[in-house]
């Protein structure tokens, strides 16, 4: 690799070492860590702020309007204003609520959301902790979110928030298994739970095509399944039932005001970035460039470009689709997602034990498509829906 390119690629790493280098040797590694932690927190908090505007503006554009465009340049200070407002807004806790738990819920949510970033490689050599059980760590931390949501909904002692919390937990646990199972195919191929080595596995190129896992049948299926499960895990539309505004008002955070409410938003968006980041890491080659001739662009830019693309897709979907109903959501999880992910694991195993070539592709594809069709048929039959024709009376 060209050294200038390499320098650009590693500029932040170098900077970090430079800054840490001013300190006595004893503290250097600590400083290193602290610097990267600060970087992560700031970058993703900033990304959160930007995403909120982008989402509002993007939804606006989808809906033929501008969206926020007056506060600061092109409306980009909008999150700042919202932040100031939230900070200075009165903090209301219902009298009947469980005060301590009510306080801890948003805090726990944000902590859990942040912890997930420990194992996300955002660029070459840019990962906070290369744990050898990184993916598992990610999922383990993700379970804290469930707890936080439950705490929020339960402690508010509001009927709607309780309904929202129950919905949220049921939804999250139902999609957690598919989430884990969908990522297992990658782990099988990579032979490691370490996110860094998973990305490293995908950095090669055949010709100009990258070795991304998404470019295999099981990887493609896995990616789609993973994204569906991730959407559900991060309560995004069309799976945003726990806060289903039109039904249960604001769901589990109905009784939160001021900055605690903002923390819920923060936690939710951070969770969304984190799962998207994991999807990128697992299936989309992490920070690797999509084509071999584009490797001169620094790795972290690739990562964030992919992340922004994922966010855009999330926003796009949110702007289009109505939300599912609870039973449909649950049935989808257990009757489609779970079997499909299991079949996908099987397909990945078959792929592994077969010699390369077109046959392997075919077998794998058949193994996936046939059950998918059958299962969705089954789903449809359960609900019996179809396009209808109508008659007219004179």
């Amino acid at each position: 690799m060209h050294s200038a390119i390499q320098q650009a690629d590693q500029i932040f790493v170098a900077l970090q070492h430079r800054v840490a280098g001013y300190l006595p040797v004893k503290f250097q590694s600590i400083a290193d860590v602290i610097l990267s932690v600060i970087a992560i927190v700031l970058v993703f908090a900033f990304l959160f702020a930007v995403t909120t505007v982008l989402e509002r503006k993007g939804l606006g554009r989808i809906q033929n309007r501008y969206g926020p465009n007056r506060v600061g340049p092109a409306g980009f200070f909008q999150p700042l204003a919202d932040g100031v407002k939230s900070l200075t807004k009165e903090d209301l806790v219902p009298r009947a609520a469980d005060q301590a738990v009510h306080f801890m819920a948003p805090v726990l949510l944000v902590i859990a959301a942040f912890l997930a970033y420990a194992v996300l490689p955002v660029g070459r050599n840019m990962v906070l902790a290369d744990l050898n059980a990184g993916v598992l760590f990610f999922f383990a931390v993700g379970t804290l979110v469930e707890l936080a949501v439950f705490m929020a909904g339960w402690s508010s002692r509001n009927k709607y928030s309780l309904l929202g919390a129950m919905r949220a937990i049921a939804q999250m646990i139902s999609y957690e298994v598919p989430l884990v199972l969908a990522s297992i195919v990658v782990i099988m191929a990579a032979g490691s739970l370490s996110t860094v080595s998973i990305v490293n596995m995908q950095t090669g190129y055949s010709g100009i095509w990258p070795h991304w896992f998404v470019l295999t049948p099981w990887g493609f299926a896995g990616f789609n399944l993973f994204m569906i499960a991730a959407t559900a895990e991060s309560n995004r539309s069309p799976f945003d039932l726990p806060e289903g505004e039109s039904e249960i008002i604001a769901g589990y955070y109905i009784e939160y005001s001021g900055f605690k409410f903002a923390l819920f938003f923060l936690g939710e968006y951070l969770g969304m970035f984190a799962t998207s980041g994991l999807a990128i890491t697992l299936f989309l080659g992490g920070w690797a460039a999509p084509f071999s001739f584009l490797t001169w662009i620094p790795s972290y830019l690739w990562f964030f470009a992919k992340l922004l693309l994922m966010i855009a897709i999330f926003i796009w979907i949110r702007g289009t689709l109505p939300r599912l109903r609870m039973d449909q959501l649950m049935n989808f999880a257990w009757q489609f997602m779970l079997p499909m992910t299991l079949i996908n694991v099987f397909a990945a195993g078959v792929w592994h034990f077969m010699p390369g070539g077109v046959i392997r592709w075919l077998v794998c594809a058949v193994l996936l498509i046939v059950p998918a069709v059958l299962l969705s048929r089954g789903l449809k039959q359960g609900k019996k829906f179809e396009a209808r024709t109508y008659r007219f009376a004179e």
């Binding site: 806790v93 219902p94 902590i111 032979g191 923390l263 299991l342």
Partner: protein, 123 residues
Amino acid sequence: MTNSPYFPVLVLLAAGVGFAIAPLALAWIWAWKFSPRKPGPSKNAIYECGLESAGDAWIQFHPGYYLYAIIFLVFDVEAVFLLPFAVAFTGLTFAAGMAMLVFLLLLVEGLVWAYQKQVLVWS
């Protein structure tokens, strides 16, 4: 301690706590300095669409959710066993693969049973 792979995680944890608590503290200081909190009987009552909330929200809940939790628990454990298998997969023999398949099939059997019993149909 600092050379443990979990040290950065710890720092991140601290940063996360700080990031969550700091604005709350700031908000608290603001409230204390400028804008006093004014709780009141109607203000701090539970919100319910503008009406007075009747009855407690903490009631005995519908058990429909419970079955999902059980199945989730079982499959969570299954995933836990799958993970090391997946990691070791590339070095494994066909026989080991079969063994895992048997393990999976056992659980799938449970799942199929559950389907048949209509347990996994949300009421």
